[in-house]
Symmetry: C2
Subunit: 251 residues, 2 copies
């Protein structure tokens, strides 16, 4: 048969990678075809090439999974492992002082991506996953990243419906706008039970000369927390990472 007016080959390859998610890390050939909307034979050939390179791996069960080679390449992302390497020692210090959850995130488009997490054994359990995404308007890190994002990004987030996670989540654009102004003024953000009813987070920005590139936060049980006491700790950690970032950039 003749080739229908189609998408570019590259977009098909990337669509295959897109099909994988934390909820579905292993897919059969037919599932891949269904998710991408591509013919089975096309998926078969593209997937075979990706397996040969190592971007995908094929298990004994015949399912495709993301391959280690892709993890290797992905680990070269400056905002991924690069940032993590600099921030991890600081995060460990923060953990030793508080024994609470410590998180590191960056903004990607209109969401945030968690880069690293130290999960305190005896701290409140967090549902986030390293490599996972989340909305910007609820978490502490999200509020910090949004407050220092370009005006255009802020407007886009404020224009869209703000998902409600708990009864305390800010869903009113006007209130969110005032909250962001306050975050910029005081230099840190507090998200009190705005994601789950048992947790509170305090977040501070990580800066380079061009602006805020990441945020670091403590997530604690809401009834055990004194945000005002924690804020200086988190801010100090943010400043230490900022300094490390700037010197690594220049040097």
């Amino acid at each position: 048969m003749r080739a229908e007016p189609g998408r570019s080959v590259t977009s098909k390859v990337l669509a295959l990678l897109d099909a994988f998610s934390p909820a579905t890390p292993a897919l059969t050939l037919s599932e891949l075809a269904r998710r991408t909307g591509l013919p089975l034979s096309t998926v078969y050939r593209r997937a075979a090439e990706l397996v040969a390179w190592g971007a995908l791996e094929r298990g004994d069960d015949g399912r495709y999974r993301i391959g280690l080679r892709l993890w290797e390449v992905g680990s070269l992302a400056p905002r991924g492992l690069g940032l993590r390497e600099l921030a991890l020692p600081v995060m460990e210090d923060l953990y030793e002082v508080t024994h609470e959850n410590v998180q590191l995130a960056v903004r990607q488009d209109l969401e945030l991506v968690f880069i690293e997490r130290i999960a305190g054994r005896h701290a409140v359990p967090v549902l986030t996953r390293v490599g996972g995404r989340f909305a910007l308007h609820a978490t502490g890190v999200g509020l910090v990243l949004l407050a220092h994002a370009p005006a255009e990004v802020q407007e886009q987030v404020l224009a869209a419906p703000l998902e409600r996670y708990t009864e305390l989540t800010i869903t009113d654009p006007g209130r969110l706008r005032r909250c962001l102004a306050e975050v910029r003024r005081v230099g840190y953000a507090v998200s009190d039970r705005q994601v789950t009813m048992d947790a509170l987070s305090v977040a501070a920005p990580i800066r380079v000369p061009e602006g805020v590139v990441a945020a670091i936060s403590l997530v604690v049980a809401h009834d055990r927390a004194d945000p005002v006491a924690l804020a200086p700790l988190v801010q100090a950690a943010g400043r230490v990472v900022s300094r490390a970032l700037n010197s690594s950039h220049q040097g």
Copy 2:
């Protein structure tokens, strides 16, 4: 001009990703073209598509870098972050007991890839990088992974020249073969100054029913070390991770 008999589009896309390495995490368009051997215009178009998707990012300096989107997808690799999530708590325990470097690695073809590392502040500095590769015949984790690799893999490694890192590196195939047998017999590996003259590592396997999928190790200063005393600790950690792996597989 007419299209020359060329490589597949997918292979060109993957060649672009291959061009990036820890030593060269940021490349200009011309550098990419030089490294891949592809014409400038081809690289330009493929790179533009990758940027649009987020696999690459383009800095203010015009250079291309690995994008956060690729890091996100890569983080779904079961042998990458998946393994890491299970092993990290155990690695932290091992660190708390010893305050030495703790490493986690898997085998990829004829090399090993470091999945995670806890770098002890006051421990001997290690030169490895998370996401980095290394030969199988020198490090503790490498010896464990090689000792339990398929016979075919072992033969390929033994057939190739064994690179020498220090005067104690095993470069004789016969000696390496006997060393691997010993590793299998005792259930752990010791690499004494076989990578650098100041460090010694003790490594133990992480098993699933199908075989050994990863290795965990302690790296300590060689003059402060008692391998025989450390081995049970590392082996115990390996067993704990093995158990976690197996239960997560089934459940």
